[in-house]
């Protein structure tokens, strides 16, 4: 347990470590780097994008992005470069592949299943038999409890 805590502390402190301002070159290039790094996951702090993370690896990878953008490579080429090294996990938006079919299609399948269940339940409820009308004994009981003078039939209709 203590070990786990230590690991958490270390990784959290690694994430915040070593803030360094990006050297601003061309605003357009910076914009592209920013957009790219928002699509990419920092592997040290796995729930942060490369843009948000200040882990040392994230800085190195941003530097790589900068160099590759400067070298005139396209966004797809740069993303491929990182996927080749770190796998699909580095992308925040996983690609559609046999292994990710469940991930992409699953929610819609669940939604469709839920809709089917809803329709089935509603149908069954509509088909349920209505309450039978009150017999003479029951009518007499109602009159005794609620008092005479009220027309019994109206009450029947209004009864839940």
């Amino acid at each position: 347990m203590r070990f786990l805590l230590l690991a958490v502390f270390v990784s959290v402190s690694l994430c915040g470590f070593n803030a360094r301002a990006a050297d601003n070159s061309n605003p357009q290039t910076e914009q592209r780097i920013r957009q790219l790094s928002e699509k990419l996951r920092c592997l040290v702090c796995q729930n942060q994008t490369l843009a948000d993370s200040n882990a040392e690896l994230a800085q190195d990878l941003r530097q790589q992005l900068r160099e590759q953008v400067a070298a005139g490579r396209s966004d797809d080429q740069i993303l491929d470069y990182l996927v080749q090294r770190y796998g699909d996990f580095v992308l925040y938006e996983p690609p559609f592949k046999p292994i990710t079919v469940l991930l992409w299609v699953g929610p819609f399948v669940l939604l469709a299943a839920a809709a089917l269940v809803l329709v089935a339940v509603l149908r069954r409820r509509r088909r349920a038999p209505e309450e039978p009308p009150l017999g003479p004994d029951e009518k007499r009981l109602v009159e005794r409890v609620l008092g005479p003078g009220t027309p019994a039939q109206e009450r029947d209709r209004g009864a839940p």
Partner: protein, 174 residues
């Protein structure tokens, strides 16, 4: 009674998914490099900076590439395992000294022992990126053709060595 069967079944299914999910380690990202040729490099050797080493030099051998650094705490944890493996002379272990200072690295090896045939220096971490390194220590098992066969993220333990790495290395040597 029957109306409770469905919710119960769904509940058990959900518990099953969560139980499996608990056992998965999110830090273990499957490496796309396994089954691919180890990325080339030519880096200076730690103890002889004027000499360079390239993975091609190990052609025909099954070997381990261990990424380490003197600032890496988990490396100390796995170090005895590597020292023991080196003593048994099972296969060559090479070090990739990742984003470290030369003096610190040499002092560290002097203090804890040196299991490496040699260590190469990746001072700016550029080669580390080619190998998909994101958490030191990491260890790669590379076969005689220069193909990565296994990647260990985090410290090697005796159990992982005995159960995965050594049997695989033995099979690859044939």
């Amino acid at each position: 009674m029957k109306r409770f069967l469905w919710p119960l079944a769904i509940f058990i299914l959900l518990v099953g998914f969560l139980a499996v999910g608990l056992k998965l380690d999110p830090r273990e990202v499957p490496s796309p490099l396994v089954g691919k040729p180890a990325p080339e490099f030519a880096l200076p050797v730690l103890h002889q900076p004027d000499k360079r080493f390239a993975p091609g030099d190990m052609r025909g051998k099954v070997w381990l590439l261990n990424v380490w650094a003197s600032w890496c705490v988990s490396c100390r944890e796995e170090h005895p395992v590597l020292l023991d493996l080196a003593k048994r002379d099972v296969m060559p272990i090479l070090g990739l000294n990742y984003k470290d200072k030369g003096e610190d690295a040499q002092r560290w090896l002097k203090q804890f022992g040196d299991p490496y045939q040699l260590s190469v220096v990746d001072a700016d971490g550029r080669i580390g990126i080619d190998y998909g390194v994101y958490g030191v220590p990491e260890t790669y098992l590379i076969d005689g053709e220069g193909v990565i066969r296994y990647k260990q993220i985090g410290p090697l333990t005796q159990a992982i060595l005995d159960q995965k790495v050594l049997p695989l290395a033995k099979a690859l040597k044939k």
